[in-house]
């Protein structure tokens, strides 16, 4: 971790040597980079593939967050997590007179968010912000059904509004909570029964980038009536020095849509964080 932090700091100094050197030691640092890792707890039901709820707790969950708290409050967040799940535990399946290894369903989640907002209320004890954000989600699922495997996706670009409040609990302790709600989204989902001619045509290029583009093109513009989405996060930070703080994040990502069939996904992340302020 120390090596990683040194790399991040070195990278920043390379790009912004003047800022770092010129910063008044009395000013609170405006920028921060947070690295996080922890648990991903998933409950997901996608009727395109299965009527069952697939649940998992995994330790493959990583995040990167850049924040700038100047005249405006800006953040860029990247996240990756992976879960796997199967209804009944077994490792082998019989096929063609042989036993073959069996793999559970896999779920991959990648997201990026850029947000910008302004503080609208400041007191000694807390600051409240309001802003807008652009969120991109790439969620891929690989359903392993032994007789054949099926690929699923939820690709989404949203324009969202968010509210954030940071509480200064103590000289060294802060607690922030933020709620992000999309107003309008471009959502791409597979067809009603996962595959149809359009889907087959889309994958016929056999090139990942083109296939992704075709999936996105087949998406539709949706609002709150067809996609109910919310991202809530709670961040606790403890400053161990002027430049470094440690903390814990809790994030809840809710997706509910009925297009083309119900998808109900509840993903919760519980992460330990290290923040470098500069």
């Amino acid at each position: 971790m120390k090596k990683y932090l040194s790399l991040v700091l070195g990278f920043y100094l390379l790009l912004n040597p003047n800022n770092s050197i010129a910063m008044d030691p009395g000013d609170p640092p405006k920028n921060s980079i947070t690295i996080s890792a922890g648990l991903s707890i998933l409950s997901r039901q996608d009727l395109v593939y299965s009527p069952f709820v697939h649940r998992d707790l995994s330790t493959t969950n990583y995040g990167f967050n850049f924040q700038r708290n100047g005249k405006t409050f800006q953040y860029f967040n990247l996240g990756f997590s992976h879960n796997s799940s199967q209804l009944v535990d077994f490792e082998e399946i019989p096929m063609d007179g042989h036993h073959h290894g069996f793999h559970p369903h896999e779920f991959l989640f990648i997201h990026s968010v850029y947000g910008i907002g302004k503080p609208y209320k400041k007191t000694e004890k807390n600051i409240s912000y309001l802003g807008t954000a652009v969120r991109m989600d790439m969620q891929a699922s690989f359903y392993s059904f032994a007789l054949s495997n099926m690929f699923g996706y939820f690709i989404n670009q949203s324009l969202a509004i968010w509210h954030r409040k940071t509480h200064f609990l103590h000289e060294k302790h802060t607690l922030s909570h933020q709620l992000e709600l999309p107003m309008i989204s471009w959502m791409a989902r597979p067809p009603y029964l996962a595959e149809d001619d359009g889907f087959i045509e889309n994958i016929s290029s056999h090139k990942s980038s083109l296939i992704l583009l075709e999936f996105v093109k087949d998406g539709k513009l949706v609002s709150w009536n067809q996609l109910q989405r919310a991202n809530f996060q709670l961040e606790y930070r403890f400053s161990i020095s002027r430049k470094i703080s440690l903390g814990m994040d809790y994030k809840l990502d809710i997706i509910r849509t009925t297009f083309p069939r119900a998808l109900n996904s509840y993903q919760q992340n519980l992460n330990l964080t290290t923040t470098l302020k500069f």
Binding site: P94, A262, N264
Partner: protein, 340 residues
Amino acid sequence: MKNSKYIISSLLISFSLTFQSCNQIFEEVPSNDKGSIFENFWQNFQDDYALFEERGIEWNEIYAQYRPLVNFNTTDEALFGILSEMIKPIEDGHVALMAPGIGAFDANPYFRDRIEDNLFDLDLIVNNYLEPGYKQNGHKFVYGKIKNHNMAYLHFDVFRKESVKLDDLLREFAQVDSYIIDLRHNNGGDVSLCFSFLGRFTEEKKLFLSSKTKNGKGANDYTAWFDWHLNPSGKFLDKHVYILTDRYTVSAAERMVMAAKTVPKVLIVGDTTNGTFGTKISRELANGWFYSYSIQKVKMFDGQSYEGIGLPPDIYVKNEPEEMKDGRDSVLEKVFLQNQ
């Protein structure tokens, strides 16, 4: 103190969200008792299966016949037997049931009972008909030049990118007079992998099939018919292509045969194909079993459905076990005669 209260209340809210039962916020999940498993299995076929009409199946009668046999005392083995018997008359090559720990059941009699499975032997072809220097990856693909004939041969077992060496065949054997594409014992996959190959042998865009997919639970809930065309691709090759088929030529392999039938110098040689055309999907049951079925209707360019019938070859030939013992593949030798 006030701050501590704030932290504690926030964490409590978060963790209550984390660990609370989510059941109310999901759609109803099928139960894991034998009756519910039967109901879920039957209902999904009722909602999604596209070919009851073509296969001559009265699914409601199947329900009436088998539902009384399932109760709380039904064993896993007995339930597997009942569900297998339900799908047996469908005979669709895409309909199957798999129960880990118990077994697997194919509705298609060819796959289930391996009827005439021994009438194709790839090793026999490799050993007796191919010149040295052929390329092979187990039974995934084999291609090379035929001995004593100016012909190139390719067999692949599924339509996957790593197996379909059609374009490699054209590139590496550009000087031959004709090509043999052996689709016997081909399990299908992605038919679009053959388009660039077949497109070399045609100068016209041709409709080869139309298909429509279930998109709702109603009996008539389908997408509009989607037309699939074969387009010319690359420099035109005025050469013969022989496509070999048998009862294990299935799904995408049969779609390739449909596309090939629109190409002028293609001849289909062998046995009738399996007769399983629609796209397949798979599902899981509450007890961890899996099953699969077809969700599409397909008609060839002539407007006919060959579901459950299969595509007849232009020249009908079947291997005989006795001839195979002598190292002969009659289907392949028929092609040699035809090409003279």
